[in-house]
């Protein structure tokens, strides 16, 4: 009991008893609470913390919450797996209220002292998620987002994320890595616990309502499934499923898929990956590719024209070349024909020569035969007597006109005027100058 010398006076006018020492009151309070009935409670476990001697947590449901504690030895004896008591897990606990009275150097605390605990099988968070997942899947709500066309080069990208989270920087890094420099619209919203879901849903609907956003990234940097529970909210997931703009989810949980991962057009493990997935086209690479294609088109265009021009030039030269070829062929023919003619002439000449020799021999043989008879010689002499050449040799002259017709009378000579006199040794032109000829 407090020493009466140190106990201060009470509050003037207060009808209440005391003042009492707080330690004594705390001890009485603990005694009172420990006298309460032992009961069983059920609810969701949150914020489980394990210390060397005790385990602390909160038991919550929609109407309220109670801080709880359990001796570490009792907790370890349960042999629960690591994932059994994640935040949100449904449990049944047995125990009663207790009070740690604290001291001058330590804080007091109230807790529901758990003496026994059981994980409530079908009631736990994952089982709830599983049921909801099956329901949404059965309603076909996993499909609509995946059927939306995703533009390869979105001009405007919406991002729903926490304003101060690391996810924001990661998204920017992903977009920069793709060489994208379009318009980025931030729709900041809380991204933790259940209260965030309506804000995220509203941000998604507002972005879509602008009609200016091509794709939306919903990003969060990770956390426990309980932290990400807002992304399993049924209303939010139904909103996403029926949104007219493709949503890429990246809520950063590696072990358990949130429901938004299932209903979104695409689910990525990191915000950076989500940003890259929003841009199927690597902008910098695409610029280089388009430039290369433009160059190839130019080359093809120029080459096509050049080849055709060369072909045309060849064709235009063809008639001339054809003529030249024909001319060469004709000349060759001509040379061949001339050569053939010469050969023929030589052949004929040789044949004629041979015939002449034969004739000569025959003539010689004939002459020998004639000499034998003498008749041929007599005939030759008679013939020679009539040869005009013989008369000319004796001093006669033969008068002809210029055309060579023999003039046999003075009258004919006068008529001709110009005559030719043929002597035995030569011919002379002469003109008849007789006056009668002119008359």
């Amino acid at each position: 009991m407090a020493d009466s010398r140190t106990r201060p006076a009470g509050i003037d006018g207060s009808p209440l008893p005391g003042p009492f020492g707080v330690g004594a009151y705390a001890a009485k309070l603990r005694e009172y609470l420990r006298a309460r009935s032992r009961v069983q409670l059920f609810g969701e476990i949150w914020n489980l913390r394990v210390s060397p001697t005790k385990v602390y947590c909160e038991l919550r449901d929609a109407d309220g919450a109670v801080p709880c504690s359990m001796w570490r030895t009792d907790f370890d004896a349960l042999r629960l797996g690591d994932q059994a008591l994640t935040d949100g897990a449904q449990v049944v606990v047995a125990g009663g209220p207790d009070y740690y009275a604290g001291s001058r150097t330590s804080s007091p605390s109230f807790s529901f002292a758990i003496t026994a605990l059981r994980v409530a099988g079908e009631g736990d968070l994952l089982a709830q998620l599983d049921r909801l997942r099956k329901t949404l899947h059965a309603e076909g709500l996993f499909a609509p987002q995946k059927l939306l066309p995703r533009p390869p080069l979105p001009r405007t990208i919406g991002v729903v994320t926490g304003e101060s989270g690391k996810a924001r920087d990661d998204v920017l890094a992903g977009l920069r890595r793709r060489g994208w420099q379009g318009r980025l619209v931030w729709a900041f919203a809380p991204v933790q616990d259940r209260h965030a879901a309506p804000r995220i849903g509203a941000a998604l609907q507002d972005l879509t309502a602008t009609g200016a956003v091509d794709v939306i990234i919903v990003a969060r940097g990770g956390g426990s499934l309980a932290d990400l529970f807002c992304f399993c909210d049924e209303t939010l997931c139904r909103t996403v499923a029926l949104l007219g703009v493709p949503v890429i989810a990246s809520v950063g949980h590696h072990t358990d898929r949130t429901l938004i991962d299932d209903v979104a057009a695409l689910s990525c493990s990191t915000p950076t990956h989500a940003a890259e997935s929003a841009l199927p086209v690597h902008c910098a690479q695409a610029r280089a590719d388009v430039l290369a294609i433009a160059r190839r088109l130019d080359v093809h265009g120029r080459r096509a024209l050049l080849h055709r021009a060369q072909a045309l030039a060849r064709l235009s030269r063809a008639p001339g070349e054809h003529l030249a070829g024909e001319r060469r062929r004709l000349h060759q023919r001509l040379r061949e024909i001339r050569a053939a003619g010469r050969r023929r002439l030589e052949t004929e000449h040789a044949r004629s020569a041979r015939k002449a020799i034969v004739l000569d021999r025959k003539a010689h043989a004939g002459a020998v035969e004639a000499r034998g008879g003498g008749r041929l010689d007599a005939l030759a002499l008679a013939l020679a007597a009539h040869d005009p050449e013989r008369a000319l040799e004796r001093g006669y002259a033969l008068v002809t006109d210029r055309s060579g017709d023999v003039l046999t009378s003075a009258r004919a000579a006068r008529r001709a005027g110009d005559v030719r006199l043929r002597f035995g040794d030569a011919e002379l032109d002469a003109t008849i100058t007789d006056d009668d000829a002119r008359a």
Binding site: P151, Q181, L184, W186, A187, T210, V290, L297, R308
Partner: protein
């Protein structure tokens, strides 16, 4: 006498998506590389290809002039002011 029928209003030509444009460009290059196209076809393909290249370049240009960051509220204000399509 029949009045000449008024020409049907031209259907608005939907520009090809970037994906379609690049796919068609690949086809064109393949055809040109094959060497099987005649002069007229080659020139037609080159003309079509150049138009597609310009389209793709414009699409890339639209997302290459500098990152613009806006808050949702700012975008809505711009759209209400009628300047939202100004782009980046």
């Amino acid at each position: 006498m029949h009045e000449p029928e008024p020409a049907a209003p031209a259907e608005p030509v939907t520009p090809p998506t970037y994906e379609d444009a690049t796919a068609r460009l690949e086809e064109i290059i393949k055809r040109l590389d094959s060497g099987a196209a005649g002069l007229r076809e080659t020139l037609d393909l080159c003309r079509e290809g150049r138009a597609l290249v310009e389209h793709c370049a414009a699409e890339l240009e639209a997302v290459g002039e500098g990152l613009e960051e806006l808050r949702l509220g700012e975008l809505v204000a711009r759209l209400e002011a009628g300047t939202g399509t100004g782009g980046a």
